[in-house]
């Protein structure tokens, strides 16, 4: 057992640092070609990197002031499924632009009728010759307004039980019949998520990912991949302020002189340090090429409320000034340039982190059932044909 992080003189560091010296302003495509976007993937897409190399690449990228392409749905969740379930043609067509960030992806999973009970979704895809025709209504779709590709879960076999009749597709978001309408979230931010209407959208049959009927299994893997990817110590799904930033900020303003606040800050700090160590453990698991398991759900279950606590204490330390829109809690601002490096915005966004990608309640069910072996939740609709459930009004 060794918790030492790779040092300045680590043999793998030099090659990475030289690359960034030779390429001071790399494009997303440059980074993708170098394998730095998904270093833990196998070649040619990644570098089959172990956790040490992954950390080194993260650090060197930060040091060089380079931001990785932002395409979270592809990079964190879904694109990996093309390695395991996609065709070679799909990989060649979709992966280069996904990893370079040129082609943003979105996840067409949740529907107005429900997000937690994903298996009950109503959007259908019926086969017509060499196309599927998709009809339905998706909602809460982050990034849909800029996405070129949508990863769609739709029902191909309505007469099978609900989890068995689902399939996944890679849909061009500019196909005729796709329309996107923004939804304004409580932070006032217009571009967080959207509704997506799918009106007789014709999707070529070769856009089916995996086989018909594999939609549920693929979706679960992708959601769990996300749970691993997202559970870093930043307050918003790994991005934004961490507990270390919180303590630095509170030290800067002198707020730590208040004994009660200081103890709370310390408690949050300790939790943050432990979650950081847990995230490194997750990296090790990923190195061993293990399919992400329910352990990822444990980390997300812990990380999401932890992030809320980080932001909540910063906000409370502001007192009434914290209610002034845009007001920052600390004199020194965070160095990152992501949307969540704004403390005020991150705070007002933070209720979402126990909702998106599986609510806290669902995560606890998953953890208790899959890790501890507790009995599964009752679902009276799980075994009957989905069409039967629908007919009864479910």
């Amino acid at each position: 057992m060794d918790f030492e992080l790779p040092g300045e003189d680590h043999p793998k560091r030099q090659a990475v640092r030289s690359w960034f010296e030779a390429n001071p302003h790399p494009s997303g495509a440059d980074l993708a070609r170098a394998g730095y976007v998904v270093p833990h993937w196998p070649r040619p897409w990644g570098l089959a990197a172990d956790p040490e190399l992954q950390l080194i690449i993260d650090e060197e990228m930060k040091r060089a002031g380079v931001t990785a392409p932002r395409n979270p749905v592809a990079i964190n969740n879904c694109a990996q499924s093309l390695l395991t379930h996609g065709s070679e043609a799909q990989r060649q067509k979709f992966l280069p632009s996904a990893l370079s960030g040129e082609s943003v992806w979105c996840m067409l999973f949740s529907e107005p009728s429900g997000g937690s009970d994903l298996g009950a979704l109503r959007t259908t895809a019926r086969r017509e010759g060499d196309h599927y025709v998709v009809k339905g209504h998706k909602i809460w779709t982050s990034l849909a307004h800029e996405a070129k590709v949508g990863v769609l879960v739709a029902r191909t076999q309505p007469d099978l039980p609900k989890h068995q009749g689902l399939s996944q597709f890679l849909v061009d978001m500019d196909s005729p019949g796709v329309s996107v309408r923004p939804i304004i979230d409580m932070s006032g931010h217009e571009n967080e998520y959207n509704e997506v209407f799918l009106d007789e959208v014709r999707v070529p049959a070769d856009r089916l990912l995996g086989k018909e009927g594999e939609g549920w299994a693929l979706s679960m893997i992708q959601l769990q991949t996300e749970r691993v990817a997202l559970s870093k110590p930043g307050a918003i799904w790994g991005s934004g302020p961490s507990a270390r930033d919180l303590v630095e900020g509170l030290a800067e303003t002198g707020a730590l002189a208040d004994a009660a606040l200081r103890d709370e800050a310390a408690e949050i700090y300790v939790e943050g340090e432990i979650l950081r160590l847990l995230a490194y453990r997750a990296l090790s698991d990923r190195m061993n090429a293990r399919t992400p398991g329910p352990e990822g759900a444990i980390r997300k279950m812990l990380a999401a409320p932890h992030g809320q606590r980080v932001l909540d204490l910063a906000k409370r330390a502001q007192g009434a000034r914290g209610l002034i829109a845009g007001e920052q809690p600390f004199p020194t601002q965070l160095s990152g340039d992501g949307p969540f490096d704004d403390w005020d915005y991150a705070f007002w966004f933070s209720p979402a982190v126990t909702l998106g990608v599986g609510t806290q309640e669902i995560l606890k069910n998953v953890v208790a059932e899959r890790v501890l072996g507790m009995p599964r939740e009752l679902d009276p609709t799980a075994r009957e044909p989905w069409s039967e459930t629908r007919r009864k009004g479910g």
């Binding site: 060794d2 700090y269 208790a368 072996g373």
Partner: protein, 371 residues
């Protein structure tokens, strides 16, 4: 960088578990009204000594195995997991004190006997209000012609009644120093406290002109080093206890039925168990990090030990309390182990400073003020 336990560590842990499960029983303390006198301290010690565990951290030159804090965590964790009543912890604390603070002659006099299971130790440092801060007021060392003498009282001394030797912190002219004291002399009186955690012997010790011999290291050299290890040891017990409580409670939630389903089917129970698992995972991680940092003499050792003590002890209290709730009324009886875990958790949380004390130290250290 590798965050997993090595195979060797897993083997050590497994063999310790097998031994403890086979050899150590809590049966006699599960009889209502039992005290630590019923816990078979001496019998368990004989078995533990036969395993060579008292010498785990003692150098080979003194007859021990010279193992690291990570190795120690594997074995001590199993004792914490099973609440094995024995003077192991007090002896460990005394061993560390002599290792770091004793002269070569003192080490040679005491440590080989400890490693051989022939001598037991205890560390007397806390005052009657529980504090371990220097210099302390309640025990005073005086130098006379015939050598050093101690007078006064020390409180919350773990395993003092079993000990052959005591390491005692006493005040000398406003400074604190540590002394080696023969516990069997008439000038030393040990009174076991009516301690709620009946799996552990916790005592007051009174000295009246007791013959004492100073250790060579001063307080500033010895105490921070010793404190970090003590905090770590309590974290090890607590992390392991948390995991055991989770396992017991998980098993029970699968067996016990209400309204036609196992109680674990109900979300209030299910989610409570998921929370306990989160606590257990975090406690284990914090403890292993401290084990590694202390084994390596890493600069983060003091922070890691303080974090582990604060986190693991709080987690243990919370999990043990939750387990009583999930067991229902049976969990509130003396015959069940739940209360023993809860009492051990509460005791570990208070001894050597509560979580707030150590969290405040963490903040001091990370905001770069004096530790």
């Amino acid at each position: 960088m590798n965050f997993a336990l090595s195979d060797d560590h897993q083997v050590l842990q497994q063999s310790a578990r097998t031994f403890v499960e086979k050899e150590i029983s809590l049966g006699r303390v599960l009889v209502p009204g039992a005290t630590v006198a019923d816990a078979d301290y001496a019998g368990n010690w004989a078995k533990i000594a036969a395993m060579g565990w008292p010498g785990l951290v003692i150098e080979e030159a003194h007859g021990g195995s010279g193992l690291s804090c990570i190795d120690l965590a594997m074995v001590l964790g199993e004792m914490g997991r099973s609440l094995a009543p024995s003077p192991f912890l007090g002896t460990l604390f005394g061993t560390w004190a002599i290792q770091k603070g004793g002269s070569a002659a003192q080490q040679a006099r005491v440590l080989p006997d400890v490693a051989a299971g022939k001598a037991r130790l205890a560390l007397a440092i806390a005052e009657s209000n529980g504090t371990t801060d220097a210099p302390g007021r309640e025990a005073v060392a005086v130098r006379s012609a015939g050598g050093w003498r101690l007078t006064g009282v020390k409180s919350f001394v773990i395993d003092a009644a079993s000990a052959d030797w005591l390491v005692v912190a006493a005040q000398d002219g406003g400074q604190r120093a540590f002394y080696l004291v023969d516990a069997r002399q008439d000038a030393v009186r040990v009174d076991a406290l009516p301690w709620r955690d009946v799996t552990r012997e916790v005592c007051d010790v009174r000295f009246k002109d007791a013959v004492a011999e100073p250790l060579t290291a001063d307080d500033a050299t010895l105490w921070p080093w010793l404190r970090d290890r003590i905090l770590f040891a309590l974290a090890v017990e607590s992390a392991a206890g948390t995991q055991r409580v989770l396992e017991m409670t998980t098993d029970y939630a699968k067996e016990r039925t209400a309204f036609g389903r196992p109680i674990g089917a109900y979300q209030a129970i299910k989610h409570g168990l998921a929370d306990m698992l989160g606590l257990s995972e975090c406690a284990n991680t914090a403890m292993l990090y401290a084990a590694w940092a202390l084994s390596e003499d890493n600069a983060r050792g003091p922070v890691a030990a303080a974090m582990a003590k604060a986190y693991c002890c709080d987690a243990y209290v919370s999990a043990a309390h939750r387990s009583i709730q999930i067991f229902g009324a049976i969990g509130f009886t003396w015959e069940m182990k739940n209360h023993l875990y809860y009492k051990r958790a509460r005791a570990n949380a208070e001894l050597f400073g509560g979580a707030r004390v150590h969290r405040a130290r963490v903040i001091d250290m990370v905001t770069k003020k004096a530790a």
